[in-house]
Amino acid sequence: MTKKRQSGKARGSARPTRRSRRAVPPSGRAALSVATSARRSIGERVAALTQGPLAATEQESDLQKVIAILRNGDEPIPVRLAALQMLQAASFGAPAFEPLRGVYMTALRQVAQDPDAELRQRAFGLLARARDGFAQRRLLEGLRDPQKALVPPEKALQLLAYDIHAEAYPIAREIVSKPPSAVAKREALRLLAADAATAPVFEQILRDKSEAPELRQTAAGALRALQPDRLQAYAREALLDPLENEELQATSLTALTQFGDEASVTGDTSLLTRARRLSTEASDAVKESALQFLDRYDR
């Protein structure tokens, strides 16, 4: 039996008990009865919601009752989170879900304004992936006016990036130039990677050794998608530059191994010589990527 522990990574969700996980799942009627009963413990209600067969129910009324739990601010947060998880699972597997999709969306919009941060964030995530205009508008408002922010700026940027047709590009550019945090800048760059006109910005960041390696790697990935020949040119320079950051060198080697132009790389003796040297003299990550590079090009 695998040992399970509570972990900080399982934020905001009550883990079902070991006993409830290993028991035979309750029937739909029974599960709903437990889930909706305020007399039952939180653990029992969570287990009934997440371990039972409700996620495949054929009864619209079952889902409507669970939606009511989700909406009800008086319900315990773990129960509401479990209701949300169950409803989202039902979107995958419950025949009864389809007619209630719209009602579910309205419930999510309500929950996106909930006092509980975890509930808000999850609701925003589901709405953002549906490209919901309500969610996008609130997220943008929060970026422009932090007083109105319902999620942190980096999360707002991450969620807005689900819709490349959203209006987030100007604010993302502002955040790149004046980031409230490194992670916000990273998410702003990821969002901007959808805009082909931003390719020069990515090249600039990539070549700027004062930028954090993580941001430069993000820029590398974006440039590869938008202008692969420019990334190949940079990757070559990065490898030949003994002062270049090792993570970037490993990234460059990986990019060339996977997507490099075979004819130009195999004919580039300086590059091959450098890769051979890196395969024996560099850090483990660089060595590994150099060996993969040589395996492809130096046969």
């Binding site: 007619p99 309205t106 309500q110 508008r137």
Partner: protein
Amino acid sequence: MPLVTESIAPSEEDFAALVEVLAAEPRRRGELTDLLREEHPFYNQRGASTTARMRGWVLVGLARAGITDADVPFVLGELDTGIEPRVVAAAARALRSYPRRDAAFAPFVLRAIETIRAHDEPLCLDEYGAYAVAADATTAVGELLETLRWLGAAARGVVPAIEALRARPEGLDRARRRQLDSTLRAIRGDAGAGPTPACCNLAEAVGLAVRPADAREDAAPLAGIRFEDHDGMPVTFTDGFLGHPTIVVFFYTRCDNPLKCSLTVTKLARVQALLEARGLADRIHTAAITYDPGYDRPERLRRYGADRGLRLGACHRLLRATDGFEALRRHLRLGVNFVASLVNRHRIEAYALDARGRVAAVFERVQWDEAALVARAEDLLHESTDPPATAGRPPSRVSRGTTTVPSALAPVASLAAVFFPKCPVCWAAYASALGIAGVQLPYSPWLKPVLVALVLVNVVSMGLRTRRTRAVAAFAFGAAGALALLGSVSGLAGTPVALGGVGLTLAGSLASVRGWRVRRGAGRQVAGRRGRARNPCNLLNQPRPQSSAS
């Protein structure tokens, strides 16, 4: 009352207020309709969902004011291909304000129900930008069913389809199923006249605009546009679109409405199949141009087209504009707008261009019929008697310093090109021809062999040019002329033969100068495609588009 001009993008609040103003003033109805144009500056740099809010509000305004014939294409377009519940609902509501219940509307309404029912949601249409947080509100399907009820007897033709919907009410909650039943009862019970046989194809009536030859805009503004095709080959507008009718559609690979771009390109594949079946694939070209040239690189274009059954070749291409997209957008008045470099909204648009690159027909907003588009293009094949500028000429790389001259001066230009010595070799060649023919020239012992060599050089250079231009007749004349001249030099033939040789050589030069172009500058030859000659319209062996039959 806010007064906003097109040069100022209003805030959403101001926009909403403007719509209210326009809806209330009958004199300004046209401005309200104008706000539905996708390319309207008010949508520039707006996100897709913002644009949906704005367009939905315009439609709600039109519903209050009452739509006119000018609004019908926009309304039907939303019903035909819309996937945003708010906009579709507003369009359904707007349709009910039309003064006539037309049976041709019913299929559009039904199609919208099929499209939207899987992702419908409660809506607040009566307040700008409001989103429902409660379930007790109208929905897109609700508005559509209400429109069917409004159609009443005019919707009797689609009763079987509505019954099929009732038999399989997937995605419809109990309230909608009840509404569906009552709608059916209302349609059956409506004592009004039933649907009359359609006098015309409504889709074509609202979506098709045809321009007779004397009313077509000159394509000169497009001459400088440069494209890159699905193979990464550069193509100019002039090279790619002149000399033959072309069917052109617009799309982009990141379109998230499967009823628009994905379907457009799929249908273009069917167009290609129709052209091939009728033996027209090398006479009517097709082109799919991306709205998103920065992202839609050749490898993405190729993948997108191939996956939808497009056959790709020199006459049938996917293109991105590497220079001049704005000129294209302006000239064609493309129905598209952008946020950053991303499309935020576009209409369906397909064009039939004539052999001069002029727009002869536009299909827009609603789904176009493949056979109708092919028919329009086929008409263009027969309409012009002017020899096309580049008919049959293989596509070539970009040439510098070429331009087109007015057609009246073209014969003069051609003769001048023939007779004007293009290079020192030409001077010598003419001198050799005249000298060999007996025209008195200053004598020199070395003149004859040098001149013979120059004649041979002339013939060989014509031969090389023929490999590109396939002007076989020109080469034949030139070769015959050279033979005659050489025969005269060697004493095997007399002066008449030599004079005949001169004439044939000159005729060959004339025939090799084809079309109305005058080359400037250094006289740099256009670099053609290397390799063996082939039919440029030989379509690659691509999987045929699969049948659309169920």
